[in-house]
Amino acid sequence: MNTPCIPTVRVQQEDFDLSEEVAALTAGRRDVGAVVSFAGLCRDENGRLTALELEHYPGMAEAEISRIAAEALGRWPLTGLTVIHRFGKILPGGNIVLVVASSEHRRAAFEAADFLMDFLKSKAPFWKKEHTVDGTATQWVTAKDSDEEDIKRWK
């Protein structure tokens, strides 16, 4: 009999450590057969960017990620789920987002992590602003139509 999985959701400025978060979902357990992690990092877009600045809606960011996590737990038999999203200024190479999903068998963990990321992109209230190397005016990242298409995969 599986105990209900309570997801961990954190919205924070500070960095996270992927291996620590994976360890937290597996330590002392004998029922976990699969752990899938996804980390999203800041890239410099071929040297164009010096940083990304992430604005968020405090309160709603946590609430919305928790709603998405609850939806995932209803769809897949997970043994653990951790979602961390950072805000503030993040340099190229730095971490932005982490999803770790664990389960008895791999398919549930793979699919849940994929689902979480698709919904985080379109539903979690975060906005990225680009800081460029040439010092021109900062610019907001535009949402892609493909982001909306991605969430339709899960209907």
Binding site: G40, L54, E55, H56, Y57, G59, M60, A63, E64, H85, I96, V97, M117, L120, K121, S122, K123, A124, P125, F126, W127, K128, K129, W140, V141, T142, A143, D147
Partner: protein
């Protein structure tokens, strides 16, 4: 009613939040956006394409035809780009 703004909606309006008294004929999210857009240049610039504006009532996503609550926190923001 408390209004909060994020990202380029916040920048164009020129403030992060404000309190407003809504006329009684403003009953839906779409009404609110149209009413705000007529409040000045910054508002007009922020809301010139209403269909791009995303809205949350008390920190939950809603559609533009959603009725407004009597009181609460309404957030207006661009499509999200997290993850």
């Amino acid at each position: 009613m408390k209004l909060v703004y994020f990202a380029w909606v916040r920048e164009r309006i020129g403030r992060a939040e404000e309190r407003v008294e809504l006329p009684t004929n403003i009953t839906t999210v779409a009404d609110l956006i149209a009413w705000l857009a007529a409040r000045g240049e910054g508002y007009a610039a922020a809301l010139e394409r209403p269909e791009t504006i995303r809205v949350a009532i008390d920190q939950e996503h809603v559609e533009h035809d959603t009725p407004l609550p009597k009181d609460g926190e309404i957030a207006l923001f661009p499509p999200m780009t997290g993850g």
